[in-house]
Structures are given as C-alpha cells and as structure tokens.
Amino acid sequence: MPRQEAAARAKNFKEVALGYTPAMAAEEAGRCIQCPKRPCVAGCPVNIDIPEFIKAVRDGKMAEAVTVLKKTNALPGICGRVCPQESQCEAQCTLLKQKAPVAIGRLERYVADWERENKAAMPPGAPLPPPTGKKVAVIGSGPSGLTVAAELAKKGHGVSIFEALHVGGGVLMYGIPEFRLPKEIVQNEINFVKSLGAELVLDAVIGKCDTIDELLAGGYDAVFLGTGAGLPMFLNIPGENANGIYSANEWLTRTNLMKAYLFPNYDTPLKVGKKVAVIGGGNVAMDAARCALRLGAAEVYIVYRRSEAELPARKEEVENAMEEGIIFKFLTNPTKFLDDGKGWVTGMECIQMELGEPDASGRRRPIAKAGSEFVMNIDTAVVALGTTPNPLIAATTIGLKTTGHGTVVADETTGKTVKDKVWAGGDIVTGAATVISAMGAGKRAAADIDKYLMGKQ
C-alpha cells in the first residue's frame, strides 16, 4: 500500500495511506483464488461476502462490488481503514501459508473510496420496505449505533440516533485521527445511514436531557445503548494534575473533533510542548503520539511498561509510528510527575520493569526493578491507558445490570440487557475494543431488536 513518506507525513494531518490505483486493485483482486472454503468470511466480525466483492473488483464491476460490500457492511469506508484485518479476515486467508494473504482490507478501502468518488455511477439502492410503524432509540452515533441504525432503517423501522456531542461519529470523529480516518469519510458514512431514513439528533445527552425510561415512555419501542467507553483512566500517581498532562481522550478530542491542529483558524487550542511522553501501548497511544509529532513536538516517546512483543496496538500503526520517528521506551513505568513550581510538568519519574509470569490478561506481568528509578525530562504527557464506560447511562437507568468495570451486562449473541426493551453493544459492553467488533455487536443486536419488534421472538 503506497504511503506518504515518513518524514513528510509526520508533519501533516493528511491521510498516511494513499490507496490503490485501479491497476493495483485489479492485480491484488486477481490474487484471490476464490477458494470454495472461504474462511475469510467467518473471520470477518460482520461476515462480509469477501470473495464476491473481490471477484467484482477483479472483473472491473465496481458498482457491483459496492453493492456486495454494503449489503452486510454499512460503513465500508471506515472498516477498510481501521479494521485489524491482519488478525481477522486476512488471518484466515487460504493464501496465508503460501505467499501472503490477499490484501482484503486494502481492497475494501478501494471499493469504498470508489463509491464515494463515483456516486453518479451507482445504481439507485434497493427501495426501502414500507414503514413498520415501530420506533427505536439508538443512544450514541459511534460505530455500533450507526450500524444498528442502518440495519433497522433498512428493515423499515423508525430510528432516532441520539448523540451527546455536536457532531456524529463517536470515536470515529473524536478519537481516530484525520491521518488514519479522514473525517470527510466518516461524514459520508453518516450521511449514508441518514439516507436510509435514520434521524440523527445531536447535542442530546441521554441521561441528562432525557433518561432511557423517559424515551420508552415517550413512544420508543426499543432502545439500543451504544455509548461506548468514553471515561478516561488515569495513572493516579502524584503530580498527575499538573498543566501539560492530558488524558488521551482530551488530547485527541481537541485535535480531531475540535481541530486544534488548525488553531487559531479553529478556536480550540492544545498546548504541545517540545518533549511529549505518551503513556500506554494501544492504538490510542499510537494515535496520540503521532498527533503529537504532527502538532510540532520535537521528541515524542511511547512509554510502555511491558516489551514490544506485548504491545496491543496494530503492528501497522506501531510500524508507522516508529518510521515517523517516535521513540519507544519499553519496560518503563511512570511513578510520579515533577513540576516547575508554577504548576507545569517538567519531568516524569520512571522505574524500569521486567516481565514475570502471565497475569489475568494472559500477558506477562510487569514487575518493577528495585533501584532502577530515573527521570525523563518532558513538558507534555498524554495518559493513554485505556477507557471505561461513562457512568451516566448506568447511573440514570433503573434496572440495568453493570459489572465492576462499569460495563453493561448484555447477552453475547443478542445484545439483550436484563432491562425490558433495552439492548446494548460495543465498548459499553466489552470495554474499549475495536470499531469492527462494535459493528458486529450492532448487527447482532439489530437482528434481535427486529425480531422483537415484529413479534417473532
């Protein structure tokens, strides 16, 4: 996949991946042997008809490729960019053992981009069924909510998506940076969902403006909770509230949602120092670090308490980060933040770690090495340890069952919660995970909601 060259791209917010040319797409699509077993389909959390859309690309039938893709996946422009295909469809590819798996993700992206640029060439979509008269409230316009809305709208149900922020998309808008997922693409996908008949209500903080019970009493036949995991985790070490220390959520929200990289043309600022330390090793940490570079930091560090092998981030994003010049400090754990006496962070005391026996997550447990303390001089820190669900919904909804982590309890197959007429899916159930797994949960919940609404349960 052609990419912007590392040194140049570390200074701009334009998309890193440049996309296939038609010739590259046809060639890659031609590699697929259309094997009868099709293990790739089962590897996809939303079970896209992968061999079918690839065949259409190979044969130059682009409109057909789009139709196949959109049959099962309402947000292909997003999946093609942020799915960890290497551990999903591509990991199952028959060609994996031979040469290399078919680049399914790249091809999906190619098809989605073609559709966006060739709208006039697309035949009109299948007509929507007559309205069922049923109304569903979807809480949250992130990947799971958008998927539920699209699936239910396609069945003729009335759908209202309630979004707390002033812009739709959830993590797709505020979390994932422009250079990985252009916001124009996100908006395009949202417009598609709206074109199916779903209504998007912005500035609607459910739990404050209305409660779930008020929505149900007000005429909604079912509710889907897709509010994600938006509560940031902090280290809870001394000095963590000094100026210049951000949660990754704040860092990314200012940058991506509020476009702080365009300050002062856009009003929301972000203070980026010269030496930025991002604490964490997941995709969010990579995103935060790569934003820091683009925002003008001279040195950017990823500080992670385990080793490279344990990094939870996508290998591709780690590679991109390393190429762009981000310095990885493994087996390092912060213990304290130091400030300049005027409230600004100037350093981070760290201790070196070594790996012991595996812990509950299956990864080797990091243990501090006594006497190995040292200080990193930094002027900005971003804490990217992970997120848990915002407690607002659980706190304002009677009868919902939650776990100690703040996640909502829901059936794995159907998304049904213990509360009557309420389903849930995505990060609010699983804790912070991926866009595609949220979409898969959305599809399963939508199918169950549809069965319930049509009296088929």
Binding site: L202, D203, V205, L231, P264, D267
Partner: protein, 244 residues
C-alpha cells in the same frame, strides 16, 4: 455551547428557564473571543450547538438561613439558587458584589427572592464600598445561625469566601469553573482536587465543598491557555478591524 463550526465548546450556567415558552436564559461575561462573538449576536441569530443541563443540580434543602454570595456576573447562577432556597423555606440573605456600579445587574431580581440584600462595589460607586467577604464576615460574627453559604463568582472570590467561613465552621458550597471541553465526563480537562481526590467538575460538580477545594491547583489549571486566549483575541480584533 459552541457558536459555530470553528468555535470552541464552552460551559455557561443556566440562569433561568421557561418550560412553557421553551427558553433558557444564560448570562455571560465578555472575557475573550468566544464570549465577545456571542455578545455581537442579535435576536433571531442562531448558534450551532447547545446542550444541557450538565453537571449535578445544586442541592436544595431547608437549612434554616442561607447566605448567597454573588460575585459580579455570577448573580445569574446565584439567582435561581436563592429563589429555590427561599421556596424551600430558608431565610435567604444575599450579598451581591461587583468591581463598580456598571457591573451590578439583576439587583432587583435578587432582592425579590431574598429576605435581605447587601450590595457592594470595590470602588464604592454603588452600595457599600468593599469586598463581598466583609458583609459575609459580619453576618457570621453577628451570631446569627447560618445553615449554608453558597458563593459563586471568580475563583479568587470563591476562595476568599471559603477562607472567611472556615473559622466559623459553616458549610460552604462553591461552583467551580475550570476549563472544560466536552462537559460530559469524557476528557478530564476539568479535573479539580477536592478533599485530596481528583474529581471532574463537569460530572461530579460543579458544586463542591469550598473548604475541601485545592484552590491553587484550580487557579494554575485555569491559566493553561492564557497565551492562546490572548492570541485568539488579538487575531479576532485584527479581523474585526478589517471588516468594520
């Protein structure tokens, strides 16, 4: 609220509302670019985004006697609190203070929901000359039993009200105003320390026990973007100059 696509999200307090008319009333001080831009809007204009009510509502109870202290424009958030306290059966003593006569407003509105109103100006151009903490101290020294003090205004004013009431052991509630972005608890920008614990002012507050607040931390965190605020203001004034 956010004025337009390029604007910043800012938290403002709802001063009043009319469910029948479908309106909310918000009063704000023009301190920077965004608030000045809002100040230029005319009746019939619109803004891009408004959401609420966010945060936890002020706890209203019959405390006996409540002293409400409003610093400057904060008479706007104090007014509905004073009114609710009065409706709950409290005797309400209100203190309204501003730097000078020009900055005093809603005096009669506050008087109408209070049993007693004391007005102060720093420079003596109206009412009693002095800071709000002076009449506050006098009330506490008078021996009258005060159940609660509510103080809202600039951080420094709230801090000194807290210092004033602390020796008397009177419960004091303040409304903290750190920098905020989303206002729904997702970013932690509004972190304050109360009783040694980190809290998010946007979801755990904005009301907090004044005697437990780390005022110094609030002050330094509020200064995070002083440079950028100045730059934005200068750019904007320059732009306005070109267009006028």
């Amino acid at each position: 609220m956010t004025k337009d696509e390029k604007g910043e999200r800012i938290p403002l307090t709802i001063a009043d509302s009319d469910a029948q008319a479908g309106t909310v009333t918000i009063v704000f001080m023009e301190v920077g670019k965004t608030t000045r831009e809002l100040g230029l809007l005319q009746t019939g204009d619109s803004i891009m985004s408004l959401t609420g009510p966010l945060g936890l509502p002020t706890h209203i109870e019959n405390y006996g006697t409540v002293v409400c202290v409003a610093g400057g424009f904060a008479v706007a958030p104090v007014m509905p609190i004073a009114r609710a306290m009065k409706q709950a059966g409290n005797k309400v003593i209100s203190i309204l203070g501003a730097r000078n006569k020009e900055l005093i407003f809603w005096e009669e509105e506050l008087r109408s929901v209070s049993d007693k109103l004391i007005v102060t100006t720093d420079d003596g151009t109206y009412g009693r000359k002095g800071l709000v903490t002076e009449p506050l101290k006098e009330i506490l020294e008078s021996g009258e039993k005060i159940g609660l003090v509510v103080a809202i205004g600039p951080s420094i004013m709230m801090k000194f009200c807290a210092k004033t009431t602390q020796p008397f052991g009177v419960k004091t509630i303040v409304s903290l105003n750190p920098v905020m972005v989303d206002g729904t608890g997702m970013c932690g920008c509004c972190r304050v320390v109360v009783g040694g614990q980190t809290k998010f002012a946007c979801v755990d507050g904005p009301d907090f026990d004044a005697h437990q607040v780390d005022w110094d931390l609030l002050a330094t965190r509020q200064r995070t973007y002083l440079e950028e605020e100045k730059q934005a203001m200068e750019n904007w004034q320059c732009q306005c100059g070109k267009h006028s």
